[in-house]
């Protein structure tokens, strides 16, 4: 952490009052929506569903092939024994290829779930 300057004196209020007030108002909008109108409930349920669908899709897309691999190697040993140069395919796949694959899935999930949240925020703001 590039903190070389001495720590600033501590004060309790760290953001301008104006900002704090605005944040408070917005919060009550969202909370009121969920409490008083059936609409907030509907939006929240939609948000939850969308995020859950995305999460399960990513888990299945990544987990499916990975669950299939040990079974494939076991049922069909010739696949596992095949080699690229001196290195067996099973090593190459489980030891190397898996990692960029999982990383790509993670990046995709981050992008998609931020998109879902943006849509939700836009929707809430339109209601105000």
């Amino acid at each position: 952490m590039p903190e070389t300057t001495p720590p600033p004196k501590r004060v309790r209020v760290t953001s301008p009052r104006r900002d704090a007030r605005r944040r408070g108002e917005r919060r009550s909008d969202a909370v009121e929506l969920t409490e008083q109108t059936g609409l907030g409930e509907v939006y929240l349920t939609a948000l939850l569903r969308a995020q859950l669908r995305l999460a399960l899709a990513v888990l299945i897309a990544v987990g499916g092939p990975l669950v299939a691999l040990p079974a494939l190697f076991l049922l069909n040993p010739s696949v596992a024994r095949a080699a690229v140069g001196p290195v067996p395919v099973s090593w190459l796949v489980v030891g190397v290829v898996v990692y960029p694959f999982v990383y790509a899935a993670a990046r995709l999930h981050v992008r998609q779930s931020e998109r879902i949240e943006r849509d939700f925020t836009d929707l809430m703001n339109r209601q105000q």
């Binding site: 952490m1 720590p7 969920t34 409930e41 929240l44 990046r107």
Partner: protein, 514 residues
């Protein structure tokens, strides 16, 4: 094998750790700073810190050791360690950050509004933390013994003292700095020797170890657990434990609080997956080279030490000593960082849930919070340190695997269902924790006591040694069924809490009080 280089390298890592810890002390002033670095940590630093903390003795020494002795199927272990973060990312990362909880007990209490749930999860966090700390001590003893011939007890002591000094001195702020640095130390300390050794191997022109033989015991999939029975079940069960256990590890959630918001928590997790995946490319290469150059282990040596023995076997002399010193430094960084992270989080729980009230009453409220945190740190580290003297001959990766299995069968149902399911009830969560905990801890005790896991025990032994595949579904099912049967104990404001967990900060507000 005595090596001055190795001792110098280990001393350097310890000195830097304590030094940076002391630097953090000057920066950390309040209790909030102490625990979570006052939330001023950027995503890159935080991701390095999380990775630094996560890559433990089991990763640095254990993975290479277990791939060396049991073969291809063990490549799934580091894959599982990485997948754990993917599961964490998609299921709980952002909501947990938005819950505003420091620790898992905090989350459980905030979500379910129940002190008893908090108490049970505190005990589990402490237990899992201690189970995970044990192999760190063992690994340190092993590393110091391999490098210098010192008695393993000395390595244990060194790690205990250095961790206690840096945790008690600086708390989490210094730990964040230390951890982030430790990741890069570890990556360099494993990558550089691996590249040098690979280059030497290419010049020697040695063949790959039995890799071309059709039924080679080393590279044939599905036979890696050959020392154990039912390899396919064992592989899947271990993977499941790693995938769902990661989110329940005590030192993981604490880190997420240092992200400024839920979105940052997600981005940080994605970087973590990249960083630890990068690291895990290297240990299997060491295992493969060790198969060529150390076809048989010297008697009395544990497979966990092959990482440190390989350079000496490949290039005797100064270069070998130097490489092995670099690896020893990396291994020590691994013990220190994981042990520090675990100590901070276990100490946090001990401090909040066991100590604070009592100490304050005794001292009439005079005692500063930081003092009781320091006392808690001492307790957090001394118990597993003492236990490491009596721990059986279970490999590093196996002990860590048990901690994952217990976490996956207890805390993970509460976290996942708590984040996604409105109808989770207090009674349901309690039943899930009790059933999952009893089964997983029972299986762990049976394995440690030697009743399971060794060959010739058939299905019973295998099921006990790799329990997650049955304990985790049972725990989830119990939680769901009991919750459905007790709708009366669903917290009244569950819907409102879920708003806070899932709605982006700019809508829900960061400080919504539920």
């Amino acid at each position: 094998m005595t090596s001055t280089w190795g001792l110098v390298a280990i001393t350097l890592v310890c000195a830097v750790t304590v030094g940076v810890g002391a630097l953090g002390l000057r920066l950390s002033r309040t209790t909030s700073d102490f625990y979570v670095a006052g939330r001023t940590v950027t995503a890159g630093w935080n991701a390095s810190a999380i990775s630094g903390e996560y890559l433990s003795a089991a990763s640095f020494l254990g993975v290479a050791g277990i791939v060396y002795s049991l073969g291809t199927d063990m490549l799934w272990l580091p894959v599982g360690y990485t997948l754990g973060y993917l599961v964490l990312l998609v299921l709980v990362a952002a909501p947990l950050r938005r819950s505003g909880a420091y620790t898992i007990p905090d989350f459980a209490e905030a979500r379910l509004q129940s002190r008893r749930i908090r108490g049970i999860s505190s005990l589990l966090v402490i237990g899992i933390g201690w189970l995970y700390l044990l192999p760190q001590f063992q690994g340190a003893g092993l590393a110091l013994q391999t490098v210098s011939g010192a008695h393993p007890a000395i390595g244990n002591l060194v790690v205990a003292v250095v961790v206690l000094a840096s945790v008690a001195a600086g708390g989490m702020r210094s730990i964040t700095l230390v951890q982030a640095m430790q990741y890069w130390i570890k990556l360099v300390a494993i990558a550089v020797p691996v590249f040098v050794l690979l280059w030497i191997w290419l010049r020697h022109g040695q063949p790959l170890p039995a890799i071309s033989s059709p039924n080679g015991p080393f590279t044939g999939p599905g036979v890696g657990y050959a020392a154990r029975e039912h390899p396919v079940y064992a592989t899947y069960s271990t993977l499941l434990a790693l995938c769902f256990g990661t989110m329940g590890l005590p030192h993981v959630l604490v880190r997420f609080y240092t992200n400024p918001d839920g979105r940052a928590a997600r981005r940080t997790t994605a970087i973590v997956i990249g960083l630890i995946g990068l690291f895990y490319l290297f240990p299997p290469i060491i295992a493969m080279l060790a198969r060529i150059y150390l076809p048989a282990l010297p008697p009395g040596t544990r497979a966990d030490s092959i990482v440190l023995m390989l350079p000496g076997a490949m290039v005797p002399g100064t270069l070998g000593d130097l490489l092995s010193a670099i690896l020893a430094a990396g291994a020590f960084a691994a013990f220190l960082s994981t042990a520090s992270g675990l100590t901070v989080s276990v100490a946090g729980v001990i401090d909040q849930d066991l100590f604070s009230g009592r100490l304050n009453r005794r001292s009439g409220g005079d005692l500063p919070r930081t003092h009781s945190f320091r006392l808690a740190s001492a307790v957090a580290i001394l118990v597993p340190y003492a236990a490491s003297w009596f721990w059986g001959n279970v490999t590093l990766a196996d002990t860590v695997g048990m901690a994952f299995a217990v976490a996956a069968s207890t805390l993970s149902p509460v976290l996942v269902l708590g984040v996604w399911w409105r109808r989770l009830s207090v009674t349901g969560a309690m039943a899930g924790l009790a059933v999952g905990g009893a089964l997983a801890i029972g299986a762990t005790v049976a394995t440690i006591a030697g009743w399971a896991g060794s060959s010739g025990r058939g299905w019973a032994g295998t099921l006990l040694a790799q329990p997650a595949a049955w304990t985790m579904p049972i725990a989830f099912a119990t939680t769901v069924i009991v919750s459905l049967a007790t709708p009366g104990s669903v917290p009244k404001n569950a819907a409102r809490i879920l708003v806070r967990l899932h709605a982006p900060e700019e809508v829900a507000g960061r400080h919504t009080d539920a």
